[in-house]
Amino acid sequence: MAKSTKAILGTAIIAAATIIAGSGSAWADADDNNLVVEGEKLISEAPAPEGVEVEKIYSGWRFRSPETQALQMDDFENPAMPTVDIGADLWETVDGAADKSCASCHNDAEESMKGVRAGYPKWSAELGKPHTLETQINECRTERMEAKQWKWESGDMLAMTAYVGLQSRGFPVNVQKDGPMTKWHAMGKDLYYTRVGQLDMSCANCHEDNYGNMIRADHLSQGQINGFPTYRLKWGGLGSSHRRFKGCMENIRAVAYKRGSDEFIALELYLASRGEGLSVETPAVRN
């Protein structure tokens, strides 16, 4: 693990100066709004899981403007939903030499995929490392369907992870952290607290120490990942949590790890564990 090799040109003073306390601002802290999607109340705040140094955990939804919040509360307003429909079509689409679709083995996703997303990343004994939803889907494609892998951030992959993820909406995030996952969880935690990049910042500097405050004109959240793949207005489309990690690292002028790298898988596991108790929100809408 590249613990300090990426911490080039540490400029902690600048980094500290960029986060401006939101004192007196209407945008301090999470708001009190309830996240109700299609009549179902999702859990957007929960007690902090053991070892997580915040008073409470909050969904990123609670830090967004009313207009952005509204987009996620109604499935028709949610701009990710046409992509979810594409995922539903792909689920039924035969691909590869084995002449199979996802549905050939897993039948109706609305039944078979219920709650699945809440437990990812998940240990794979066969692989000897955790599976993310993306690597699990690709294993199905190459091993069972004898089809080509999808790229991590491809439209097809995002459509499928969003469709599968939606079947877990409302389920509380709950990942394995013990046994063979202990090492991965620790690796993720290490990454979370390690300052990197020219701005010499760690994930914790923004998302643990300063959530609720403004970073320039942006309202910092806790960096929860329970809504991924998430539709970001900035992206004008869906993106994976690893794309967001990469964006964060680039913002602090660090050399980002690659999507699907061991580092990002470990970070995904650790961040998932920091959000345990929050509902899966896939596909969430953020700014």
Binding site: A17, T18, S25, W27, S65, E67, T68, K234
Partner: protein, 151 residues
Amino acid sequence: MKLDRREFMVWGAGAAALAVTGIPSIAMAAEDPTAEDAIKEFTGGAEVQSGRVELDTPEIAENGNTVPVSVSVESPMTADDHVTDVLILADGNPRPGVATFRFTEMSGEAEASTRIRLAKTQNVIAVAKMSDGSFFMDKQPVKVTIGGCGG
């Protein structure tokens, strides 16, 4: 919802390094029409009155890539008296044109919504053309935040 002015102003060198905007780089062409030109073209130079048109936009857009805009026009929407078109413009975009809604008697009410891209803080303008050839306009300012990380 208001942002304190100082929150926008307390900025140092490090801040610039973080200024990652979500707005694509913009290619300005000299011959691009202005919002005024577009209104003239739409009205044929006729007088534009205020009233009857109501634009609903957020005061502050969290991201300029997707800004909800709704417009409604007071009209009986009968065969004799209805709204025919509503032109939506954004006066600070490299090209001001956004959309033109065309209504019919079948519309029942002259009301439509969409989501638009705003390159910066600017006015959104709606000009309605009535079946009698008169024009009405509404204009709403929208502040677009250029985020630190959310951009």
